[in-house]
């Protein structure tokens, strides 16, 4: 059956639109039924935000993989390897190694100390109000960047699949995707969202496994021959060597370092990943879920290596770049080359589902953070009952959904893995220093937390605004203007150390001491799990 479609003719793709939509529609229908069934027991805030803490480690691990393996991983990395060769592989390695930070330093301690959101942990032994507000603002900022990346992926995919290149048509499809996502989150809460993630993770990994097997079969299961094929098609022997994208100048080499730093330190600070640790009953299950997700994510990234070089060898960088959707279309084009319209339809539906599920996960995180940290704790000063809080969360979902739709409409065709790397840089700068300090440094104070969070968040965002991402280059968001004062496209190498420094400085210069009893309580709770919320039984 190999070679149904020997050459990829982009014009043919339009004829498969109905099939693609049919498969995607089926996924939506099936998951919607599951979401409705899963949501029957959504009564309390713990149900809505943390799925009643009733998921097992393996289930949650699969859901984490579903949350983490976003369009950036599938479309972005495959495209990056297909075009830039070895430098694209860097994303896979950084995204995976980063899980060790989450496993060793964060997951279990966080599960033992918090309740619903990242701010629960950060404000545990510090002053509630300032720390909670700062943590909620950085959660919302990181979620927004991540949403932008997912929506940019949705735009790319739509232009490829439906052949819609006009602005209005793409906007309409993004509105439909956004509306579906709002429905999932409104109806299903965390439980429904988690089930969508689990189903999507299994479909994505299965789809990638089939394609990987297929590509390897074409090359007689010889990786060296596959790599040779990629070199031959591209006519560039440097496909297999580092430096194709980042090795050009000293500045670009520094950019590579900055990207590497952001990738490895970002994961353990992503609010939507942290929130998933609350959906399991114990710290031990949190550990199990990280182990599962490391296994699944690692396996998937090994697939992307084959898929990326496979796309380079079988489809070719020139065809990929010329296709609607550009770099992000490598994986769908490879699917079309391998299995014709049917595999393309399946893979595209999976990619759509991926975007939908990740956007739902981000939205519920942002909504929980607003309702729980800003509304319940700050605006109503803890007097709001859980029902009102969930009501506020649901309304926030609608607002965020609308913002995501607008962001998606205006997001351009930049590589989604690259956009996600920016979200990682913002997360690592704004959140990681405070998470690590508050868990491990007894002396850490409120002033240190506030300086570190605002300093990290502010410096990361300001550096992005004045970077070539926004202006001054052909691929910038505003190509006409040039205010790129900062030469690197990823701010991590400056903003992450700065945030760590500010956390230390703010603490050392703080004349006030924090409550030592609270510190003792946090440490004992985090290591032993005393008093951690158990599963809700219905």
């Amino acid at each position: 059956m190999i070679g149904i479609a020997t050459a990829v003719d982009v014009a043919d793709l339009k004829e498969t639109t109905l099939l693609n939509m049919g498969i995607f529609g089926l996924f939506v229908a099936v998951t919607m039924v599951i979401v409705v069934r899963a949501s029957r027991n959504n009564k309390t805030a713990a149900d809505y935000y943390a799925a009643g803490r009733s998921f097992t480690g393996p289930q949650n691990g699969t859901a984490i993989a579903g949350d983490y393996l976003s369009a950036a991983s599938f479309l972005g990395i495959t495209g990056a390897i297909a075009i830039n060769g070895y430098d694209g592989f860097m994303y896979s390695i950084g995204f995976l190694v980063a899980w060790l930070v989450a496993l060793l330093l964060v997951a279990e301690l966080l599960r033992n100390t918090g309740k619903f959101t990242m701010a629960d942990v950060l404000s545990f032994r510090l002053k509630q109000r300032p720390v909670r507000i700062a943590a909620a603002i950085s959660t919302l900022a990181v979620c927004f960047f991540y949403l932008l990346a997912q929506m940019a992926g949705a735009g790319s995919l739509i232009s490829l699949l439906l052949g819609i290149s006009d602005w209005g048509g793409q906007a309409l499809v993004i509105i439909v995707v956004g509306a579906l996502m709002i429905m999932y989150v409104l109806i299903g809460g965390m439980k429904g969202t988690t089930w969508v993630q689990i189903i999507k993770a299994m479909l994505l990994i299965a789809g990638a496994a089939v394609m990987t097997f297929w590509v390897l079969a074409i090359y007689g299961f010889n990786l060296s021959d596959l790599l040779g094929g990629a070199v031959e098609t591209s006519g560039n022997p440097n496909m297999l060597n580092p430096g194709l994208q980042y090795g050009k100048t000293e500045t670009s080499k520094l950019d590579f370092m900055s990207l590497g730093l952001a990738l490895v330190l970002g994961t353990a600070a992503l609010p939507h990943v942290l929130m998933r640790f609350y959906t399991v009953p114990t710290a031990k299950e949190a550990r199990k879920s990280v182990v599962w997700s490391i296994g699944l994510i690692g396996l998937f990234y090994l697939f992307t290596l084959v898929l990326g070089y496979g796309a380079a060898a079988l489809v070719g960088a020139e065809t990929i770049k010329a296709a609607p959707g550009g770099v992000n279309s490598a994986a769908p084009l490879l699917a079309f080359h391998l299995g014709g319209p049917l595999l393309l339809g399946f893979i595209s539906a999976v990619a759509f589902a991926t975007i939908l599920a990740v956007v739902a996960g981000l939205t519920i995180t942002a909504a929980a953070s607003f309702a729980h940290d800003i509304y319940a704790s700050v605006i109503s000063k803890g007097k709001a009952d859980a029902d009102t809080e969930v009501k506020v969360a649901r309304r926030t979902v609608v607002v965020i959904g609308v913002l995501a739709i607008l962001g998606g409409i205006f997001a351009n065709g930049q590589n989604v893995a690259f956009l996600v790397a920016l979200a990682f840089a913002v997360a690592a700068s704004a959140n990681l220093p405070t998470i690590v300090y508050s868990l491990f440094w007894r002396r850490f104070t409120t002033q240190g937390a506030v300086w570190s969070m605002y300093g990290g968040l502010g410096s990361a965002i300001i550096l992005i605004i004045f970077s070539p991402v926004v202006s001054g280059a052909k691929t910038s968001m505003i190509p006409g203007a040039n205010f790129a004062l900062f030469p690197l496209s990823n701010p991590g190498i400056v903003s992450i150390p700065l945030a760590f420094l500010l956390g230390w400085l703010g603490t050392v210069l703080d004349k006030k001491r924090e409550d030592i009893a609270k510190q003792a309580e946090m440490e004992v709770r985090s290591l032993t799990g005393v008093g951690a919320e158990k599963a809700v039984n219905h």
Binding site: D120, G260, T528
Partner: protein, 126 residues
């Protein structure tokens, strides 16, 4: 006390400073830190060594070892291997060295018994 901290009844009246100062807890804390800190430093150094090599020693990374497989690809795949290995190592260390003490301390504080998976098997339910 933060109103959002989890406060089940069993833990509400505990003197955490006293628990923190016990030998058992200090032992748990030491065992935890003496594993996770060196391990975190080790894998971060290994990861950054890899990134620096890819960045500034492209020639070395491009050395072909077998067919089209070069040093860079092998080191990259070794990052996967080390990640899986450290994960496995940490899980077995926690199961052997951390979980039993943690369960013991939790047991003393909450007055429940826990099985080896950390599930409550006896004691008053809330």
């Amino acid at each position: 006390m933060g109103h959002d901290a989890p406060t089940p009844d069993a833990a509400a009246s505990v003197d955490f400073e006293q628990v923190q100062s016990t030998e058992r807890f200090q032992e748990l804390r030491k065992r935890h830190r003496s594993f996770v800190f060196p391990m975190a430093i080790a894998f971060l150094l290994w990861y950054f060594a890899y990134v620096l090599l890819a960045d500034y020693a492209a020639g070395f990374m491009s050395t072909k070892v077998w067919g089209n497989i070069n040093v860079g690809l092998i080191l990259g795949l070794l990052q996967f291997v080390s990640t899986f290995a450290i994960t496995g190592w940490y899980v077995s260390y926690s199961n052997r060295r951390l979980d039993p003490i943690a369960a013991e301390i939790r047991n003393e504080i909450e007055g429940h018994e826990f099985d080896k998976d950390g599930n409550r098997v006896s004691g008053v339910s809330k």
